[in-house]
Each structure stands twice: as structure tokens, then as C-alpha cells.
């Protein structure tokens, strides 16, 4: 089992050189016909925009006047002269660092719980736990969340009744971001489904052998489940981190569209939207987007590098 396989499928065997060459020439053009929509999209809607966005990041551009070259000024302002930028970086990092581990831990716990149920119960709960993942990205649920965590909403009420007086989370700069965190955690069903599929692929023989060697439940978890599941953990981790960096709709709704209170829910993407589309600083927003791309790239590379020491691929054993 290998996740995130990046290699192209193996080449089909060729005939003799001359025959092969003739056949290749005959067969090349249909492939490009199949690929033409994708190639057009990749060129015009991905590569070209990436280049344009890189260029714009070195300019002052408001969509109406031609872009003015300003060199590294956008980047310098961002890194040295814009506390709101750093606030947005801090908020987003806090969100990623808290929401992703919580969500994955809950997903793994739920998957292990469901694995022990009868197949009927498992199917039912798997679907039921998955449902929030479909709804969670909607504006409707974001509005529900704002109401639930607002002053007089259910969450402060319930916490107050057991003696924890938090007041409304949405209006509290220290707590507002955690309402968004909990909305992400609520959607643990998606990674849970992937974990459950991974758990079901672990051979029961391994657990049996561990039992014979006298391993208890905890030992089996550490020595069998964790290593066998590590490729799936890795896949979920990469996926969730990349998605979390880009959270937008819930932050927009919970903060009333303005990142408030006191910029405490000014997520990176929300600030990017505000700079680019509300304040018409397209160059600044483009520079922000490129730093986001670089940040995601660096985090992904670090994850892939460290994965060699903790991700265990059974089919690569002894390599």
C-alpha cells in the first residue's frame, strides 16, 4: 500500500525500434486530443495565472490602472511593516496547530471504535459521523456555529451551567478562533473514513501474533496499529494541513466578514481577500498568495522528509 503515488504508470512494452517508432507516431495525437482540455486549463488557468501572480506581487495594482513596478516593497511591507499580516499568520498557525491534531486524533479514535462494532452498526455510524464533513463547509452551518457560540448561545449556556463561565465566544478575541477550530473538529468524519479503511486492511494475523507474544491492548496499538497505519496518518496529515491553511467560509461568517473581534479571526485567506478585493491592493494580495504557496510547499517538503523516519510502508520492507 503506497499513498500519494506520484510516478506515471509504467510504459507498455514496445515492438521493434522501427515498428515502435511508427506506432508511437500514429498513436501520439489521440493522447493530445484527450488531454487538450486539461492542457488548456493547466496553461491558461494555472501556469499563466501563477506567472502573472508572481509578477503582480512585485507591483502596485488596483485592477484599473496599469501595474506599477515596486520591486520587493510588498514583501518588505508584509514582513516588516504590517502587524495585521503577522496577526493573520499567527491566527492561521494557531488554527492549524490546534485543529489538525485534534481532528485527526478524534478521527483515529472514532475509526478504532467503529472497527470493534458489528458490520451493521459500523456502516450506520460511519455514515452518520461522516455527515458533518459534507455540511461543515456550507454557509448555513457557519451561521449556525456563530449563533451557537454567541452570547446566549447553547455552548456558553451549557458551559455556564457546569460552572465554566466563558461568555460569548464570538465576541471574545481570545476565544473566537476556537469556535472555528471546533467547527473543523466537528468534521472529523472525512479522515475517520480513511482511517477506518486503513484499519480494515491490517491483517488480523499481526494482532494474533502479538497476542501470542503476550502483548496487551496498548502494546498492540503501539507496535501493530501505529506502524501499519502510518501511511494513512501521513496522507491525512498532509491533506488536512493543506486544507487548513486555506480555511475561509467559517472564518468569514463567524467574524461577520471582517476578521473581528480585534482581528482575532483574521485568517490568512480572509486578510488576503480583504487586501485584494476590498482594499484593491491586488499586488499585495498576490505577494501574500505566493508566500502562502511557499509556506505550504515548505511544510509539505518537511513532512515528506520526516516521513522517512516514521512512515512504514509494508510493501517496501527490506528495500
Amino acid at each position: 500500500m503506497s499513498t500519494l503515488s506520484t510516478s506515471a504508470p509504467a510504459r507498455a512494452p514496445r515492438g521493434t525500434v522501427t515498428e515502435g517508432r511508427r506506432r508511437v507516431r500514429e498513436k501520439q495525437w489521440p493522447a493530445y486530443v484527450f488531454l487538450s482540455p486539461w492542457m488548456l486549463g493547466a496553461g491558461v488557468l494555472t501556469l499563466l495565472p501563477m506567472a502573472v501572480s508572481l509578477y503582480l506581487s512585485f507591483t502596485d495594482y488596483n485592477l484599473f490602472d496599469p501595474p506599477q513596478w515596486v520591486g520587493l516593497r510588498n514583501y518588505a511591507e508584509m514582513l516588516a511593516g504590517d502587524p495585521r499580516y503577522w496577526r493573520s499568520v499567527g491566527t492561521t498557525m494557531l488554527y492549524v496547530v490546534v485543529a489538525v491534531p485534534l481532528k485527526l486524533a478524534l478521527a483515529l479514535g472514532a475509526a478504532m471504535l467503529l472497527k470493534n462494532l458489528s458490520s451493521r452498526g459500523r456502516g450506520f455510524y460511519r455514515s452518520a459521523f461522516y455527515a458533518p464533513s459534507l455540511l461543515g463547509a456550507s454557509m448555513s452551518i457557519a451561521l449556525v456555529w456563530r449563533a451557537l457560540f454567541n452570547d446566549g448561545g447553547s455552548v456558553p449556556d451549557v458551559l455556564g451551567s457546569i460552572g465554566i463561565d466563558t461568555g460569548g465566544w464570538v465576541g471574545n478575541p481570545n476565544l473566537a478562533v476556537f469556535a472555528v477550530v471546533l467547527l473543523a473538529v466537528w468534521q472529523f468524519g472525512a479522515p475517520m473514513v480513511i482511517f477506518l479503511a486503513g484499519l480494515q486492511q491490517i491483517s488480523p494475523d499481526l494482532y494474533e501474533a502479538a497476542s501470542l507474544d503476550g502483548a496487551g491492548a496498548w502494546r498492540k496499538f503501539v507496535s501493530v496499529t501505529v506502524p501499519m497505519l502510518s501511511p494513512v496518518v501521513f496522507f491525512n496529515l498532509v491533506l488536512e494541513i493543506i486544507q487548513s491553511f486555506q480555511v475561509f467560509t467559517p472564518a468569514f461568517a463567524i467574524s461577520g466578514g471582517k476578521g473581528g473581534p480585534a482581528d482575532s479571526t483574521m485568517f490568512y485567506t480572509l486578510y488576503l481577500y480583504e487586501r485584494g478585493f476590498t482594499a484593491s491592493h491586488m499586488g499585495y494580495a498576490a505577494a501574500m498568495a505566493w508566500l502562502l504557496l511557499i509556506a505550504i510547499g515548505v511544510v509539505t517538503v518537511i513532512l515528506f522528509r520526516t516521513s522517512r523516519s516514521w512512515v512504514f510502508y509494508a510493501d517496501e520492507e527490506g528495500r
Partner: protein, 283 residues
């Protein structure tokens, strides 16, 4: 009952008990949404009961009138048009590209495949502004084209990847014999590979629909005229008002807007859950 049988019994009911309790907590926001959508205005703040004292259906009549003079049928129709266009576009263009990557030989295949996989990690925001500039130059802002056209150009690499992975798992024999019978690649794609790939195509269609239905950022950037608004954009106008007086109609509209998602969930849950699971496991 001795300790051993007690242990066995406990092992049986404990997971069920935890699952039931978790489910109740998870479903609470949805029950709350339904209840609040039926509450009279004076009970929203004053009453601590979850369920309303009597069902206030007028919230729904208000919601059905829509927002800023645009009826909810219009909002629904607009959203369906965008989501439907996205589904057709993604299924067609992504399966075409996937067939080439999975089955055909051509120059630069490895480079193109690697590029396609790399774009899986590309944050949308990097291309958002230039795409906006392009569509603005073409005079297509405030139309549905910027929301539908990219889907016909296979820009969502996730689905190309999903279908490639699925097609790689299909047996080659049928395609080989079709070729021996004189089928060209187009015939083979259309009559053999595409029908066999149905599960992956259905997964693509469902997720495309749901993502387009839930989308907010792109819709907000491209659509301005109220009569072109989608359900999500109509709900957005509630974001600025934090008073609880509008709760009833606002959440009635929320309920209506998530109905298609709930419906999709009940009809397609097998495909949703399986599509999700295979995307992470097949290699």
C-alpha cells in the same frame, strides 16, 4: 457474573454507548438548526428550550420570498445551473485527461503527470487574482462563466487523480480485445473504459456538486447582480446583521439551502464514503 464475563459484556456495550453519545453531540447543531428555524421570534432569545412552543411556519414563508426581491426558486435555480454545469464539465474533462494518463503513451507524459499531481497542493489563492483579471478582461465578471468554464478544462486535479487511480485498477483485457476488433482510442474510451469507470465518475459528480453548492469565495468574487445570486450568496447577506430578530427566517433559509446536501447524503452515502476511502488508500 464473574469478572471475565463482565469484561466481555462491557466490551460489547461500551463502544455502542460511546458511539450513541458522540452521535447525539454531533447531531446537536443540526437539530438546533431545525428547531430554531421553527421558533417564533420572541422565543429565540428568551426561551432556553431547544424545541419551540409552537411551530412558526411563517419563518419559512418569509424565507421562500428570498432576499432583496429575488425569490428562493430563482436562487435555487441559479445554484443548480452552476452546480450542474460544474458536474458535466468535471466528469467530461477529468475523465478525458485521466484516460490519457492511465492508458495512452505520449511524449512528456511523466512531466505532465507530475505537474498534475503537484497542482493538487496548489492553494487556490495563487491563481485567484490573475483568473479574476482574465475573466474581467473578457467581460465575463458577473456571469456564470468563471464558475463553470474552468470545470470544462479539468482544473480540479483531485478528480483527474481519482479517476486515473481508478482506471489503473481496471483490467486491460477488455480494452486490448476492443483494439484487436478495430476500436480506436476514442471508441475504446467511450464504450469500454468510461462505462467501467462509473463508480469513480459518480464519486466525481457527487463531490463536484457538493463543492459547487457549498462554494462561497468564488461566487462572492464573481457575482454581483442580486438576480444572479446563489443560495450561499443570499445567506451571506445575513452575515453582517448579528441581531437575533432575523434568526427564524435566516435559519429557515439555511435549512432549505442544506436540503440538497442532506438529500445527496441519503441517496449516495455509499459512493461518498467509498470514494473518500479509496482516494486515500489506492496507490
Amino acid at each position: 457474573m464473574n469478572a471475565a464475563t463482565f469484561g466481555v459484556a462491557r466490551r460489547k456495550w461500551l463502544p455502542h454507548a460511546i458511539a450513541v453519545v458522540s452521535l447525539l453531540i454531533l447531531l446537536y447543531p443540526l437539530v438546533w438548526l431545525l428547531a430554531t428555524s421553527l421558533k417564533p421570534a420572541d422565543e429565540v432569545v428568551t426561551s432556553l428550550d431547544l424545541w419551540p412552543s409552537h411551530l412558526e411556519w411563517s419563518n419559512y414563508t418569509t424565507a421562500l420570498e428570498g432576499v432583496s426581491g429575488v425569490s428562493i426558486t430563482r436562487l435555487f435555480g441559479n445554484t443548480l445551473l452552476i452546480a450542474g454545469g460544474a458536474v458535466i464539465g468535471n466528469v467530461l474533462s477529468c475523465s478525458l485527461a485521466a484516460y490519457a494518463f492511465a492508458r495512452l503513451r505520449f511524449r512528456m507524459r511523466k512531466v505532465m503527470f507530475a505537474f498534475m499531481v503537484a497542482t493538487l497542493m496548489l492553494p487556490h489563492h495563487v491563481v485567484l487574482i490573475p483568473q479574476y483579471i482574465i475573466f474581467n478582461r473578457l467581460g465575463l465578471v458577473d456571469t456564470y462563466w468563471p464558475l463553470i468554464l474552468p470545470k470544462f478544462l479539468a482544473t480540479e486535479a483531485f478528480f483527474v487523480f481519482l479517476i486515473v487511480q481508478f482506471m489503473r485498477g481496471l483490467p486491460r483485457e477488455l480494452e486490448e480485445s476492443a483494439r484487436i476488433d478495430g476500436c480506436g482510442p476514442f471508441r475504446t474510451y467511450w464504450s469500454i473504459t468510461l462505462p467501467l469507470s462509473r463508480p469513480a465518475l459518480i464519486t466525481t459528480a457527487i463531490f463536484t456538486f457538493l463543492w459547487a453548492w457549498n462554494d462561497f469565495l468564488t461566487q462572492m468574487i464573481y457575482l454581483f447582480a442580486p438576480e444572479k445570486f446563489t443560495v450561499t450568496l443570499a445567506l451571506r447577506s445575513f452575515v453582517d446583521q448579528s441581531s437575533t430578530s432575523a434568526y427564524g427566517p435566516m435559519f429557515a433559509m439555511s435549512v432549505i439551502s442544506v436540503l440538497p446536501i442532506v438529500l445527496f447524503f441519503f441517496v449516495f452515502q455509499r459512493y461518498l464514503v467509498q470514494g473518500m476511502a479509496t482516494s486515500g488508500l489506492k496507490g
